[in-house]
């Protein structure tokens, strides 16, 4: 978009936000729809997984709603909205890092012997029974990655999912599996 067009759009969005601050819901809906495409392209450049883009986009829209009183109509609109989008993008990156670290920790823990050096062996039948209780996506992620030893990439291809979605599902699956096994008294 040409700089003039960009400035014009910025002015229009600023005006719409000013009206939204006064309670005009029609202007506000228009503004959020315009913002959606701006934020979407901002996030799509940074996040590969389209599902995550949509999730973060919605979080940004909620944040724009919560922060709307902080917009000053005498100032440009773009730095305001992109600053909120950046904040939520950073939150997303941190969350992904946390998930990855937990996953690594979980995987490391499963290879460690139990506290008393006594190994806990699980009957395959019981394990299958526990896995079968998981939600479909989690079940498939755990089965491919743990029982068939496929990599994240291979699992993602098999399930037609993004790699990060596989990681999230596998992580949730491990947690749920642990709880199920605890209930079945097959873990310490």
């Amino acid at each position: 978009m040409a700089p003039d067009g960009e400035e014009q759009l910025q002015f229009i969005l600023g005006t719409l936000m000013q009206k939204a601050q006064e309670g005009d819901s029609v202007s506000y809906e228009k503004l959020l729809k315009e913002c959606r495409s701006l934020i979407h392209s901002f996030l799509a450049k940074r996040i590969r997984d389209s599902e995550s883009v949509e999730d973060v986009l919605q979080e940004v829209l909620v944040s724009v709603h919560r922060a709307r009183h902080t917009y000053d109509p005498s100032r440009p609109f773009f730095p305001w909205v992109y600053s909120i989008a950046r904040r939520r993008y950073i939150d997303y990156v941190r969350k992904q890092t946390r998930i990855y670290e937990n996953e690594v920790q979980d995987e490391t823990m499963t290879h460690l012997p139990a506290k008393t050096e006594k190994m806990v062996f699980l009957d395959r039948e019981i394990l299958d029974q526990a896995i079968s209780r998981l939600p479909e996506k989690q079940k498939l992620a755990v089965m491919y990655m743990k029982l068939e030893n496929l990599s994240v990439k291979e699992t993602a291809e098999k399930l037609s999912m993004s790699e990060s979605a596989v990681k999230v599902n596998a992580h949730r699956g491990y947690k749920a599996l642990r709880k199920i096994l605890e209930k079945m008294e097959y873990t310490e």
Binding site: A20, Q21, E22, G23, D24, S25, V26, Y28, E29, L32, K33, R36, E54, D55, L57, Q58, E59, L61, V62, S63, H65, R66, A67, R68, H69, T70, Y71, D72, R75, P76, F78, P79, W80, V81, Y82, S83, I84, R86, R87, R88, D91, K95, R98, I99, N102, V168, H171, R172
Partner: protein, 229 residues
């Protein structure tokens, strides 16, 4: 939920809002209430004479040399600039860097002036008085408590984009007020004392900032319960 539905719900739920206070309103309010806090805390210590003669005597006792007066002015400027920087960080898209940089530069100047006073004291060319032991380190925190909490309270109403930085600069602003106040009330005017007992407390601002950051965070709200890990 798809974004169309979300937008529709957000627009349907719209209520008029009052815009955030301007930086000047916040700084004026913060200054007035910080002064009230400082006076009340000083009164609690029972060492401040609320008479014109008493105040002049107190100020002339502490600021009888050029460097000590400039150091106090630098301290006040650090407090204002840090508070302004913290405010800017609580409004999305506002540039906070100039205020934050100026605050840090003045903090360094403040430290240098104290070193200068210390050098004069050690060379014996600056007459100083050591009157009594005063619980300065703790007092700096006590004097800083009001301004810090007040600033956090004012900034929480906005939308903090960087909680850690905002927390650190809020802590610096509060502690700078605390340090300046204690330097007025303290019966010991030596530069060495100011350096060790007052300025050292101020340097705890990053730690205090970490604590404040927890109160300033504006976490994203998960739209689906499953997203909470």
């Amino acid at each position: 939920m798809n974004s169309d539905r979300l937008i529709h719900e957000l627009a349907g739920d719209l209520k008029p809002v009052r815009r955030s206070y301007s930086i000047w309103s916040v700084l004026v309010l913060w200054t007035v209430l910080s002064v009230v806090w400082a006076v009340l805390t000083g009164w609690m210590y029972g060492i401040f004479e609320f008479t014109e003669e008493g105040m002049i005597a107190r100020f002339s006792f502490h600021y009888d040399s050029f460097w000590s007066l400039v150091a106090a002015i630098a301290g006040v400027a650090v407090a204002f600039l840090s508070a302004a920087g913290a405010y800017m960080l609580s409004i999305p898209g506002r540039r906070s860097k100039p205020a934050r940089t100026a605050g840090i530069v003045l903090l360094v100047l403040w430290a240098l002036l104290l070193f200068y006073g210390l050098a004069l004291e050690l060379s014996g060319s600056f007459r100083s008085e050591h009157v009594a032991v005063f619980p300065c380190f703790g007092s700096v925190f006590l004097f800083a408590l009001g301004p810090s909490v007040l600033l956090i309270f004012l900034l929480r109403k906005n939308f903090v984009t960087n909680p850690l930085r905002t927390g650190i600069f809020s802590a610096l602003a509060g502690l700078a007020v605390g340090t300046v106040c204690v330097s007025v009330y303290c019966p010991d005017s030596r530069a060495s004392h100011g350096m060790v007992s007052h300025f050292t407390a101020l340097l705890a601002f990053p730690l205090l900032g970490l604590l404040f950051a927890k109160f300033l965070d504006t976490p994203s709200q998960p739209l689906h319960k499953d997203d909470e890990l």
